[in-house]
Amino acid sequence: MAADMRLPTIRKTVSLSASAFDRKDLVVPGDVITSDTGFMRGHGTYVDDDKLTASVAGEVQRVDKLICVRPLKTRFNGEVGDVVVGRITEVQQKRWKVETNSRLDSVLLLSSVNLPGGELRRRSAEDELTMREYLQEGDLISAEVQSVFMDGALSLHTRSLKYGKLGQGVLVQLSPSLIKRQKTHFHNLPCGASIILGNNGFVWLYPTPGQQEEEAGGFYTSLEPVSLSDREVISRLRNCLLALAAHKVLLYDTSVLYCYESSLQHQVKDILKPEVMEEIVMLTHQKLLEQEG
């Protein structure tokens, strides 16, 4: 068996756009942004002696009189309408607690799910008792942010056939800032798999469902064996996502698909090698640029 060995070397990361060096809008904690009192204090800033000071390292964003500092890497800050993928951590009275990479666990109320059968009715005490049959600890779900509570916790809902329990597939956890906001976050990729790009950085890869079967309110999960070819496609996509994330490329359907296409000449396992990663990502980037202009 041929072993693959490499020596520890310092890898120079190839910058995709060599332009923006020496940027002036980058600040670190404690930097005074302005001492003018006419500005409003946004996220990532605080006022110290009438001076607006940064509290995180990142780039300054100005909207009219409002100054914010956006850190490069942070936990998920949910907004209403965001698509998230999460894991059930707890079953409580009339609610599930969901881990969504947010700073507090999100809440999925029993009243904001579609019950199996699809009929709309009041939630009875019986439903409360059978909650664990619908979703139990460790289950993965896709959902949408319904509202944000005062303390920053998110309230989710799955009142659409798109959302619900996730069955067989692969979860990839990435930084939320890498996900590009788009009209739809559910894609059936032409390469034979489907993808849910959660705004919270959780990406779900699963085999494209054959026919839109009569879904039991999103709680039914298929346990049919997934064919080897589908599994290979999903593994390749997963490695592609990791490659794109390592080089900080924004993730959306086109970038993922182009990366998949560029990776076809390599074996699935080879994609994780740093030099192959770099090559694939460069190819992807080129394709994206060509497509843009």
């Binding site: 910058s15 060096f21 904690p29 404690g30 990142g58 890497k73 881990e99 507090l104 303390d151 956890q173």
Partner: protein, 245 residues
């Protein structure tokens, strides 16, 4: 003292430094991908790894939840191979517990915990090689990790140990100096405002010297902050270029 001359007549220390000279400081941010924030820091031969998780939902005992701010949970540990004599317990002994508590106090002063009610921030620091000034190296490494995690802080927290020998304050003690019976002082500083986050001294010292010692420690901390600042800015440049906006 046992014959060891900590400060020569020419004004040089055991490892050839001047009295106010710091050890070489090297650091890297974002060493792990799974953690929210991480950093590796070397100060001379002392090496530390810091990892930050959070802010996240309270884990373990719910009763510690604070309704107006986040709880900071610190754990200090030393690798078994970090000292000349192999350690039995990497963490949980009395010295580590005390150190964890000090780290917690230091970061509660700097991190803006009131922004994250009912959540928890975990800071784990591990000493990989110990050559004096463990507390200050941990604080410096943890600062970088917290910044990497994007958690709001008032300012950097920089720490440094200072010893007092022959009426002279020595900055950034190494292990040989620390164990040579020097009365030393550890100071954590928020450099821009000059606020002290933590001040610790175990040994005896004449009251008249305290002022000079603190003064020297503050200067040393500001020196450290300059290096950390450079590391953070460098990291920021690299990361933002990659994002390509």
């Amino acid at each position: 003292m046992a014959g060891l001359e900590l400060l020569s007549d020419q004004g040089y220390r055991l490892d050839g430094r001047k009295a106010t000279e710091l050890r070489k400081l090297q650091a890297r941010m974002g060493v792990f991908t799974q953690a929210d924030g991480s950093a590796y820091l070397e100060q001379g031969n002392t090496k530390a790894l810091a990892v930050v998780y959070g802010p996240h939902e309270m884990r373990g005992s719910r009763s510690r939840t604070l309704h107006d701010r986040a709880v900071i949970n610190c754990q200090y540990s030393m690798a078994t191979f970090s000292t000349a004599e192999r350690k039995r317990r990497p963490h949980g002994d009395r010295k580590s517990t005390e150190m964890s508590l000090h780290l917690k106090q230091t970061f509660e002063a700097a991190v803006m915990t009131q922004l994250y009610p009912r959540s928890q921030i975990d800071i784990y620091v591990k000493i990989l090689q110990s050559d004096g000034g463990n507390y200050s190296v941990c604080v410096n490494a943890a600062t970088l990790a917290v910044i990497d995690a994007g958690i709001p802080m008032r300012d950097y927290v920089c720490a440094c140990t200072v010893g007092f020998v022959d009426e002279t304050p020595l900055a950034d003690l190494c292990y040989a100096e620390e164990s040579g019976g020097v009365s030393s002082l550890a100071l954590a500083l928020l450099p821009r405002g000059g606020q002290i986050a933590l001040l610790q001294m175990d040994a005896r010292l004449h009251q008249d010297h305290l002022e000079t010692l603190i003064e020297a420690a503050m200067t040393a901390c500001k020196g450290v902050s300059k290096v950390l600042d450079e590391v953070v800015r460098q990291h920021l440049q690299e990361a933002s270029v990659l994002t390509g906006e």
